[in-house]
């Protein structure tokens, strides 16, 4: 393995590892006891930011080793998947979510799962997961597998870790939430365990999501450093 790929792999491990160690091991409790909840969140955010920047730099310097050919259909996967991802992202960030840090009190609300949470209780995590996996498929090289795989693996693996923590933290309120939601998008809706209330999701969030998609698509050269290429 080349030096560029090795440092990318180390950056990916640091990014995922620091997230997991700080959020899901004994270290979280120990640090919170020392620094308080706010101090802990500051350390967590700073670590995430630094390892994120490291990962970005390592990705841009890594050589391109093809794993599979870039084809029309592989390039079209993100084009098709990203509108769902951007809607989940916008709706996720603007909906009170009991599984988000600091928002646990919403589990006691009359409706613990408003709007998009009935599609998935982890909309932002799935947005990142869909972004990552679709871009692995489109790029088809080893450095993209490491870079986007770090985000996709962490976010989708994170949903399981978060669920486990919240189950303990929320108790009976967790059961109320889990009953009308699913981790995998649309699973609870397909199973008929829940119903989507469009008024709660609101057309505005869907439009804002599609608008973000249009900006990302057309501004890809500026935002990601390369335009969208469809063979």
């Amino acid at each position: 393995m080349s030096q560029g790929l090795l440092s990318l792999a180390i950056a990916a491990i640091a990014f995922c590892g620091s997230h997991i160690v700080l959020s899901s091991t004994w270290l979280r409790g120990a640090l919170r006891d020392q620094l308080g909840e706010r101090g802990f969140l500051a350390v967590y955010s700073l670590t995430a930011l630094v390892t994120f920047a490291w990962l970005l730099v390592a990705y841009s310097h890594a050589p391109t080793i093809p794993l599979w050919p870039q084809q029309r259909w592989t390039a079209l996967v993100p084009v098709v998947v990203m509108p769902l991802a951007t809607i989940l992202l916008i709706a996720g960030y603007t909906t009170p979510n009991p599984t988000t840090v600091g928002m646990e009190r919403f589990a006691r609300a009359d409706d613990p799962a408003p709007g998009v949470l009935r599609v998935t209780r982890h909309p932002v995590m799935w947005a990142i997961g869909l972004w990552g996996t679709s871009h692995i498929i489109a790029n088809g090289d080893l450095r993209s597998l490491l870079f986007f795989g770090a985000f996709a693996g962490l976010s989708l693996g994170g949903t399981v870790l978060i669920d486990r923590k919240k189950q303990l933290a929320l108790g009976s309120n967790w059961a109320r939430l889990a009953e009308v939601t699913s981790n995998v998008p649309f699973a609870a809706l397909v199973a008929g365990r829940t119903r989507l209330r469009w008024r709660d999701v609101s057309l505005l969030r869907v439009i804002a999501g599609l608008l973000l998609y249009a900006v990302l698509y057309n501004g890809h050269a500026i935002i990601a450093g390369a335009p969208v290429v469809i063979p």
């Binding site: 841009s60 050589p63 391109t64 063979p231």
Partner: protein
């Protein structure tokens, strides 16, 4: 990709991409093709001439000795190389 004789003497590398020549998409496809073929970081490749022409000059940043060792044999293996 193939190596061919250039009209003005010397040799050129012939490469074909299917991406449309709009908003730099074909140029990006070409540079990605070269980066993948030669196992280089995409950022080390850039166009210094011919962004709107069929004849282009690509600049590769890196240690010259290593690039010759890495890219030379790849070009040699191409048809006409």
């Amino acid at each position: 990709m193939a190596v061919a004789a250039a009209a003005q003497g010397g040799h050129v590398l012939k490469a074909t991409v299917t991406a449309p020549a709009e908003n730099g998409r074909a140029n990006e496809a070409l540079l990605q093709l070269l980066a993948r073929a030669w196992h280089l970081p995409r950022r080390d490749l850039s166009l210094i001439a011919g962004s709107a022409s069929r004849h282009k000059i690509v600049r590769i940043v890196g240690d010259p000795q290593r690039l010759v060792e890495q890219v030379g044999p790849e070009i040699g293996r191409l048809p006409g190389g």
